[in-house]
C-alpha cells in the first residue's frame, strides 16, 4: 500500500517536471490548479442534509475525498478537486482542511460543503499533513519536500490564512505530520535523511524555531520509524508506526513522555489513515477509525474502541481507495 502511494507521488513529480514553475500565477490561481482543473475526474457532490451529522472525510489514492455519515457509515458525498489528497485536519468549527501533495495547495471546506471556501498556496512545498490549533485557529502544514526535492518544512498559517511562517529543521529533511497540543505547542515528525527512522521536533507556543526533541517509546532505547502522522486525541498526542497500533505521548513543556498504546487486533494501520472520534474535546476520544487495504487492494475504514483498542466494531468500504487520511468533523 505504501509502495503504491510512493509510486503515485513519483508520477506526479515526474509529470510536474515539464510544467511551469509552481510560482507562476494567473489571476490568483496557480497554473498547477489550472492544469488540474481540466483533468477533474468527477464532480463534487454532497447529500442534502449531510451536514447535520458527524462526518468522516477520507482522502483516497484515486484523488477523491469521500465523505461518510459517522453513525450510518453511508457515503454521503465526494470532494473532487484534488490530484493527490493527503493529510486532513479539522478546526474547532468543523471546517476540514485537505492538503494536496499534487497541487501543493491546502483546501478548506465547511462541514458538509462541496466547494472549497479557501485555498492556501503551500508551494513550493509539497504538503503531507496538517493540524489546527483550536485556541488560535493557526494552521500548521507538514511539508515533505520543497522545490526540486529540497528539504521540507513546517508552514504555519496564522489564523489559517495569508502567507505562512516557514520553519525548517537541521535534522528533519522530510516532514510527515504534526499536531497541536492542548497548550498550543506543536509536535512535528519526519524522516531522517537516509532511513525510515522518525525524528521529532517541537515548536513551542510562542517559539521561533523547531526544537529537536527525543520522544521516548514503550521500551528503553526505542527508535521510532515509519511514523506517518500525529493526531491529538483530546488528552494526548497520538503516533502511529505503520503497525497494528497507535501510541499516546504527552508533550509537557518540551519534554515528551511515553504514556500508553492502543492495539488494534484485527487490522493494521498502514499509514496515516486513522482518525479519532472525540465528541467531547475536553476528554479523550472514544473511537478510532483506521484505514485498511489488504493484499488484494480491497480498501476499507474500520471502527475500533478507543483507547481500549481490540477488534473492530464496524466498517465501510464504498468509495474507499487505499485511504491516506481520515478526519472526523463533528456536526455543529
Amino acid at each position: 500500500m505504501k509502495r503504491q502511494t510512493i509510486a503515485i507521488a513519483l508520477i506526479v513529480l515526474l509529470g510536474g517536471c515539464g510544467a511551469p514553475g509552481p510560482g507562476s500565477m494567473i489571476g490568483g490561481v496557480s497554473q498547477a490548479q489550472m492544469r488540474h482543473a481540466r483533468t477533474l475526474p468527477g464532480q463534487a457532490w454532497m447529500d442534502a442534509g449531510a451536514s447535520s451529522a458527524d462526518l468522516i472525510y477520507v482522502s483516497n489514492a484515486d484523488g477523491e475525498v469521500t465523505v461518510y455519515n459517522y453513525s450510518t457509515k453511508a457515503l454521503v458525498g465526494v470532494l473532487a478537486a484534488f490530484e493527490t489528497p493527503r493529510g486532513e485536519c479539522v478546526d474547532k468549527s468543523g471546517n476540514v482542511y485537505v492538503v494536496d501533495a499534487g497541487t501543493d495547495q491546502v483546501y478548506e471546506y465547511a462541514h458538509g460543503g462541496t466547494k472549497a471556501i479557501k485555498t492556501l498556496d503551500d508551494s513550493p512545498y509539497e504538503p503531507n499533513g496538517c493540524a489546527v490549533d483550536s485556541a488560535t485557529g493557526n494552521l500548521a502544514v507538514a511539508n515533505s519536500q520543497g522545490a526540486s526535492g529540497s528539504a521540507g518544512s513546517i508552514a504555519v498559517y496564522a489564523h489559517a490564512s495569508g502567507a505562512p511562517t516557514v520553519y525548517t529543521s537541521p535534522t528533519i529533511p522530510d516532514f510527515a505530520g504534526c499536531a497541536y497540543n492542548d497548550d498550543g505547542s506543536l509536535l512535528t515528525t519526519g524522516y531522517e535523511k537516509s532511513s525510515n527512522d522518525s525524528l521529532f521536533a517541537w515548536l513551542p507556543k510562542h517559539g521561533n524555531a523547531l526544537v529537536s526533541i527525543n520522544v521516548p517509546g514503550p521500551k528503553a532505547s526505542w527508535t521510532w520509524y515509519g511514523v506517518t502522522g500525529i493526531q491529538w486525541d483530546g488528552a494526548f498526542l497520538v503516533l502511529d508506526d505503520g503497525g497494528n497500533g497507535v501510541y499516546q505521548i504527552a508533550l509537557i513543556h518540551g519534554q515528551a513522555y511515553w504514556v500508553n498504546q492502543t492495539l488494534l487486533t484485527d487490522r493494521y494501520i498502514g499509514g496515516a489513515e486513522y482518525g479519532i472520534y472525540d465528541p467531547n474535546p475536553k476528554h479523550q476520544g472514544t473511537e478510532i477509525l483506521a484505514g485498511y487495504i489488504d493484499e488484494s487492494y480491497s480498501s476499507g475504514v474500520y471502527y475500533f474502541p478507543y483507547p481500549g483498542g481490540g477488534s473492530s466494531t464496524g466498517s465501510f468500504s464504498h468509495g474507499v481507495d487505499d485511504p491516506f487520511a481520515i478526519a472526523i468533523s463533528l456536526a455543529k
Binding site: 532511513s195 525510515n196 510562542h206 524555531a209 527525543n214 532505547s221 526505542w222 518540551g254 500508553n260
Partner: protein
C-alpha cells in the same frame, strides 16, 4: 580439554558429525535462517544502541571537588561539571530519559529515568550505586531528606497518564510509600526543609501551577496557596541554603519563555512570593528555560535550555540572590538540560 567437553555436550550436531564422520556444515541452513529471523525481531535494525561508555576523569578523585550533575533529555546522558570551572569531568551514559536530580550530603546523586521508571543513585564519581524501581508511574523530580535519609520521587503522572504522586523510599528500602495531594494532578519537582517536610510543585488537572507540602509524619499532602505574584510553570523546588525561603523555579516567568526563581516565605499552608531572581544569558537576554537549578554557596548552578531559537544551551553559574548574567558558562555540552544536582565529595 574441558572446553571441548562442554562444547560437545552442548552440540548434538557435533557428536553426530564425529560419529558419522561427515565434515558437514555445522548448522543446517534452515536453522540459521530461523535464528536470524528471530534475532531481527528481538533486536530491531533501526535501533540506535547507545554504545558509548560512561567516563569520569581521574582528576575528580580529589574529594573536595564540587561536581554539578546535569541530565540531558536529548543526548540521554548525565554530564558532570567540575565547579567552579564548569569543565566537563565525566559523562554517564545508558539512560532512557534522564530528568530530575537530587543529592545527599555524602555526594551521592539520584537521577530519575522517566521512561525507564527507575531512579539511579550515582556516587560522587559517577558510579551506579543503587537502583530504585518505580512501578507506579513516570518519575521526574526527586528530593533527599537530610532528616530521615528518605528519597522522595515525584511521578508526573501514572502509567495511564492520569494523576501522579509522590513516592517516598526509606533509606536502603526499595519499597516506597505513596502520597498525593488530591487537588494536584501533575507532580514535577520537590525539596525537603531541614525538618522532614517535603515541598513539591506541579499542576492541577487544568494545568494551573500548584505547590504542595507533605509535612513530616503526615499521611497526605496539602496545597500551599501562593500569593504575592503568579508562578506559571513548575520548576525547581529547594529550601534556600542562604535564608529560610523556599525557592521555586518558574519555567515561564511572567508567562513568557523566560526563567526565574521565586523566593517564597512559607507560613502554614500559605506562601508569599517575597522576591524573584531573574536569570539572564551571557548576552543579557532572559534565560529561555531553567528546568532545575541548585542554589548553594551564593550561586545558582543550572542550565539554560535554549529552545527559544537564538543560541545554544548552556550550563551556567549565576550569583544568588542577584541573578542577572552568568558569572561562568559552558555552551558546548548540553543540548536539552533538565535536572541538576550538586555533589560534594566526602
Amino acid at each position: 580439554m574441558m572446553k571441548t567437553r562442554i562444547l560437545i555436550t552442548l552440540a548434538a550436531i557435533a557428536l553426530a558429525a564425529c560419529s558419522g564422520g561427515t565434515p558437514a556444515s555445522p548448522i543446517a541452513p534452515a536453522a540459521v535462517a530461523q535464528l536470524s529471523t528471530s534475532v531481527a525481531a528481538g533486536w530491531p535494525v533501526a535501533a540506535h544502541p547507545d554504545r558509548r561508555p560512561s567516563w569520569v576523569s581521574p582528576d575528580i578523585d580529589a574529594k573536595q571537588t564540587q561536581v554539578l550533575f546535569v541530565s540531558d533529555a536529548s543526548t540521554l546522558d548525565v554530564y558532570m561539571y567540575e565547579l567552579p570551572s564548569l569543565k566537563v569531568v565525566g559523562t554517564i551514559t545508558g539512560f532512557s530519559q534522564p530528568q530530575g536530580e537530587c543529592s545527599n550530603s555524602k555526594g551521592d546523586v539520584w537521577v530519575t529515568d522517566t521512561n525507564a521508571q527507575k531512579i539511579y543513585e550515582l556516587s560522587h564519581l559517577g558510579r551506579l550505586e543503587n537502583t530504585l524501581s518505580d512501578s507506579d508511574g513516570y518519575p521526574v523530580g526527586c528530593a533527599w531528606d537530610p532528616k530521615s535519609g528518605n528519597v522522595a520521587v515525584m511521578n508526573i503522572f501514572d502509567l495511564l497518564g492520569k494523576q501522579g504522586e509522590v513516592l517516598v523510599y526509606p533509606p536502603g528500602s526499595k519499597q516506597p510509600t505513596s502520597y498525593v495531594n488530591a487537588h494536584q494532578y501533575y507532580y514535577d519537582f520537590g525539596g525537603y526543609d531541614g525538618s522532614g517536610d517535603l515541598f513539591f510543585d506541579g499542576r492541577s488537572e487544568g494545568g494551573a501551577f500548584m505547590l504542595s507540602e507533605l509535612p513530616d509524619g503526615s499521611k497526605a499532602a496539602q496545597t500551599i496557596k501562593v500569593s504575592g505574584g503568579r508562578i506559571y510553570f513548575p520548576g525547581m523546588v529547594q529550601m534556600s541554603t542562604a535564608s529560610s525561603s523556599l525557592l521555586v523555579g518558574d519555567q515561564e516567568c511572567g508567562g513568557a519563555s523566560a526563567a526565574c526563581i521565586d523566593q517564597l516565605t512559607i507560613s502554614g499552608t500559605t506562601a508569599k512570593i517575597a522576591g524573584s531572581v531573574k536569570l539572564e544569558d551571557a548576552k543579557g537576554d532572559a534565560v529561555c528555560d531553567l528546568v532545575q537549578g541548585v542554589e548553594a554557596n551564593g550561586e545558582i548552578a543550572g542550565s539554560d535550555w535554549e529552545f527559544c531559537g537564538y543560541t545554544a544551551s548552556t550550563t551556567d553559574l549565576w550569583a544568588y540572590p542577584s541573578g542577572g548574567e552568568p558569572s561562568a558558562g559552558n555552551d558546548s555540552t548540553d543540548t536539552t538540560p533538565v535536572g541538576a544536582a550538586l555533589s560534594s565529595g566526602r
